[in-house]
Symmetry: C3
Subunit: 249 residues, 3 copies
Amino acid sequence: MNNAQIASSAVIHPDATIGPDVSIGEFSIVHNRVQLGAGARVESHCVLGRPTDLAREDGALILGDGAYIRSHSVFYQGSQFGAGLVTGHRVTVREGMTVGIDCQLGTLCDLQGDCQFGDHVRLHSSVHVGKHSTLGDFVWLYPYVVLTNDPHPPSEDDNRGPTIGDFAVVATMSTILPRVTVGVHSLVGAHSLVRHDVAPHTVVGGVPARELGDLSRIKLDSGEPAYPWPRHFRRGYPPEATNAWSERF
Amino acid sequence: MNNAQIASSAVIHPDATIGPDVSIGEFSIVHNRVQLGAGARVESHCVLGRPTDLAREDGALILGDGAYIRSHSVFYQGSQFGAGLVTGHRVTVREGMTVGIDCQLGTLCDLQGDCQFGDHVRLHSSVHVGKHSTLGDFVWLYPYVVLTNDPHPPSEDDNRGPTIGDFAVVATMSTILPRVTVGVHSLVGAHSLVRHDVAPHTVVGGVPARELGDLSRIKLDSGEPAYPWPRHFRRGYPPEATNAWSERF
Amino acid sequence: MNNAQIASSAVIHPDATIGPDVSIGEFSIVHNRVQLGAGARVESHCVLGRPTDLAREDGALILGDGAYIRSHSVFYQGSQFGAGLVTGHRVTVREGMTVGIDCQLGTLCDLQGDCQFGDHVRLHSSVHVGKHSTLGDFVWLYPYVVLTNDPHPPSEDDNRGPTIGDFAVVATMSTILPRVTVGVHSLVGAHSLVRHDVAPHTVVGGVPARELGDLSRIKLDSGEPAYPWPRHFRRGYPPEATNAWSERF
């Protein structure tokens, strides 16, 4: 099959579309309506393209070229990821995700579905993203960050998650309440509860989160300002992504 | 075997009891002393009825009719779940759980065992329930809620978890300390640390949690009171459950 | 193979070193450069010795005698664990861990690698340990504790995690910021954010954490002081470990 390496125990349904140079590990299952781009690597014990339970019209699961899915991960059908997706182990991705290129989802991330992510997004381990959340480009979410979506749990109110602006950073163990917007280039400190919108280029923290002074006063060890972080940090991004940064901040 | 659909790679121990119309997915293991009710669906990569390590007298794992266990989940022997159990992916359930009907356990939930749950309980993703916790009927626990059970960790003190009353709601990322009672119809706000009992029909929040005024002042988008939530929210419950609600609040 | 019990579906690479009386469960994968000590038990659906992605010189994965790895766990190559390791389900362990004897890692623990742990360490469920963290002997970390390592996320600053002293306890849902030292025999209360060093024999708590008075005032149900905890708690430790305690506090 076009140079693919499929482990002998893997279960590949006949209508899956497997690009060239794909590898699929032991004990993994690839359902119908999956499209794996060129060079995709799927490790062991994964489930890709799991059919939905609901009476909804979910389409294919599309993973772009070079996708790298670590072991024990589960992706439902009905989502689309741009080229260069990298995941940790045991990620769970429900239906209706539209995600750009070069995104990373850490170990144990739990994406509830029906979200829009930009390009070059970085989710560290154990990030929980409620339905109908929106992430811009170059967003960073750290371990145990939660984006919630029900303003009065449980309710039938418009369940809309937060909107996280380009280049924004949410540090570990912070909760963002529904409908909140975190502005571009802002920083949410660790262990915070964010109830209200965060203006661009702002640092907030605490339970509940309050503005914590001037973001530019936070310094690297070198004494240079730590934010906006793209001034000093480029590790892991493709060069064509960072070449255009100077026009964005 | 009475119309069961067992994947060819699944490992079913000979003394497991498989009801009619059961399905069991690829790479799953069903140990002895498991009783799967009629119509149960077990997805791939699961382990059901794992024998205990300890020298304790744990009995069967009993999953009632219609149980729906998503992939990569692990249930130990010695627990009993009423009909209609639904789980997310990768749940872990230790010994000694007694759980009512129509319960839902979200992805990555971690139940430490020896707990009593009522009927119609809803645990969202990544809820951690310490041993000897008690949940009433219609309880809601949201992502990363922790019910702890050791008042002086580590100690040999009576390790008793919290008691959560009927219809109570604990929002995301909140910790309930041991022996605490959360009263019926109460709300614990997101990202709270609850050290003391919460009276019925009360809202608390913060680190540490304090009473936050009158619960009835929290309004839905429509302007109606958001709590008690059963006045406006019935999605996902069987009709016979909600028909009797008017007598309970 | 020297009395080993290998499930028929397990995939054992030919250069793995399997000690006597080892058992390996169904659907598990053991890569080359793995050394499993005598009597090791590996449950189902595990991946041991996963090769690293990076161009680094990681060596073998060495699990000492009596290791007990519960199901769905993933260990990369390039780490060394002393005898008596016990894990929960679904732990993830990256490269470069050096861990002493008699350590326990709870269900869903996520160790990012390049850490030093002492002997007799206890991690409860869902502990996240960032790279370059250091744990002493007899440390306790409770569920959803996070040890972070980037002081200005994201940055190229020296990414060094916390140092947790011997016998220290970090209660559930607490975050320790990078480079912080938690002193020997100290207690971090539940749901805390620790930004500064914690002196030995001290209790701190809150967001941000502050000193909470005299640790010796915290009493067990019996009225005896709860800390230092080794005065009253020895469950689960080998006798040779606790025999020497009286010389250490």
